[in-house]
Amino acid sequence: MIFSLSWKNIWRSKRRSLVVIGAIIIGVWALIFMIAFYNSFGAAFSKNAINYEYSHIQIHNPDYLIEPDIFNQIDDEEQIISLLNENPSVISYSGRRKVNGMIASSKTSIGVQIYGVDTRAESETTRLEEQLIDGTYFNKIKRNPVLISAKVADKLRVKVRSKIVITFQDMEGNITSASCRIEGIFDSKSPKINEGVIYLRKSDLNRLVGADGINEFAILLNNSEQIDEMKSTLTSVTANTVRSYKEVAPEFNLMEESSVVTKQLLTVVIMLALLFGIVNTMLMAVLERTKEIGMLRSVGMKKRSVFSMIMIETSLMGLLAGPIGLTFGYLTILWLGSTGLDLSAYSDALKEYGFDSVFYPQIKNSTYPILMSVVMFTAFSGAIYPAIKAIRLNPLEAIRKL
């Protein structure tokens, strides 16, 4: 009976109830959109970082991780390569010689990381060739060709075919210099690579440092789900340290954590706004019905029932509006998730941080029931104060007022 009275009460002031229901729908919908949009940032960030910088898995000599010296190399290169060549999860891999050094033009010099790479493999793993904006990819210049980023080129004030000198320690610990010629200039989606990575052919770099060998494997897999299995496969054949991109770059975990916090904050803010609206509206509804509630109490309706009446009335609106908002949200994400959201208008700033300009909003299915509970919790909380107000009304005063 209370239930049907509550239901009827919702519709006595249609406009007001529709405002509450509409607010919940819009709130839920907006929340889903924001969460999904936020998720797409994370996904885009990971995707870029994997495709252009870290790959899925990296292997290093454990000593290299403590002291990144050239002689801390991967000693069982052959064994790992034969495993990688056979494994169907592996799209490509790149074995790199890495040394820290300086690059100098006639104008100035800066510190860089020098990568000696197998040019084909590197391009297949980090798409280096497609990121060239000037020059060619290791096929014109015979002697010590080098690729540098546009940013580094800018600082050094050099261009394609300019001569530069690189300086670094060789295997014996002696400082060595070599003159190289810039063959190409790239613009990587990875800010870190733009900042200070230059590429030489591995054969050239190894000749200059005086030893064969590599310091790093970067392995690209079909997808992130294969990381764990691949890691254990690799760990069983090598004593070197095998790490996923998340372990290599702790910023991923930090980002994930902060994204959880951000999404929770978003939820709290939106739900607080809803809460405010609900409390306000229901309070109005209660005060408007002062006399009626007084009458109900007079003729024998218990406080408990009056309380429930207001609680049910509010909850019903949440129950009605929640699923509609969720459905809108779901459909929006379904649509945007496949077409993508083009933010090219803002892409200059985004590119700086290694983002693509098209985002694909996405949300886990498990988020929907959580949001529904949050909405119900909000509606419920919003009803408590008005419901208390309703039972605090003195029935006598309520009916004395004509």
């Binding site: 009275l5 009827k8 006399k291 009458m295 024998g300 218990k302 406080k303 006598l396």
Partner: protein, 227 residues
């Protein structure tokens, strides 16, 4: 048998500042089947007296016994229950539930009393028939005239089979024709169902229809006449 026994009732408002003795030492007994008017000018204490008898207000002094139960001894929730089972209320401004039809309003207290559907329906149909409001059964209060609304309110009070019905100026908002027919119906129900009615008024036509008239002035009983 006395349905209501009020003994030395006093109600004092603002006892600490400027005390108003709205009801000042009133004792009265109401027997089963009475049709009694509480009469007096505005501000004489009629509403205050009815509210205390109806268990809506607590007296400053004195006690009220309804059907053998001293209602001042009941706690709030017991009192609410007691009102539901024993006292019918008719208010000056009808006070129907606006979102319910006439019939649903009449059945409302029976619902609170957890009376089953069949009994509710036959009772509400019977009452609507007797009170000439059958045609209003599916209409909301806003679609009814004042006279019809007040008849629905009386039917609602009757439906719960109370020990007595309290009506505070039930005709104050009605024109003279509606006033007459409401009083006739109340008198008829008083005869047919032997329901006790206590109503307040300052309308001479209503006073004329009462079988007992208790006159109150300044919170005191001035006269008590049974015709």
């Amino acid at each position: 048998m006395n349905v209501i026994e009020a003994t030395q009732l006093v109600k004092t408002y603002n006892p600490d500042t400027i005390p108003v003795h709205a009801v000042n030492n009133v004792s009265l007994d109401i027997k089963k089947g009475e049709f009694t008017a509480i009469v007096g000018p505005s501000g004489s204490g009629k509403t205050t007296l009815l509210n205390m008898i109806g268990g809506l207000d607590t007296p400053t002094e004195g006690k009220v016994i309804v059907d053998g139960v001293e209602i001042d001894n009941l706690n709030q929730s017991e009192l609410t229950d007691f009102r539901m089972h024993n006292i019918g209320f008719v208010f000056q401004s009808y006070n129907l539930i606006p979102v319910m039809t006439a019939r649903e309003n009449i059945e409302f207290i029976m619902l609170l009393q957890k009376i089953d559907k069949n009994a509710r329906e036959s009772r509400s149909e019977e009452l609507m028939e007797k009170m000439g409001i059958s045609e209003t059964s599916k209409r909301r209060p806003s679609e009814l005239s004042g006279g019809q609304q007040q008849r629905v309110a009386v039917a609602r009070a009757l439906a719960s089979k109370p020990k007595f019905i309290l009506a505070d100026e039930p005709t104050a908002n009605l024109d003279s024709q509606s006033t007459n027919s409401l009083l006739d119906i109340m008198a008829k129900m008083n005869e047919e169902e032997n329901v006790t009615f206590v109503f307040s008024t300052h309308d001479q036509r209503v006073i004329d229809k009462a079988k007992r008239v208790i006159t109150i002035v300044d919170g005191k009983v001035e006269s008590d006449e049974t015709k």
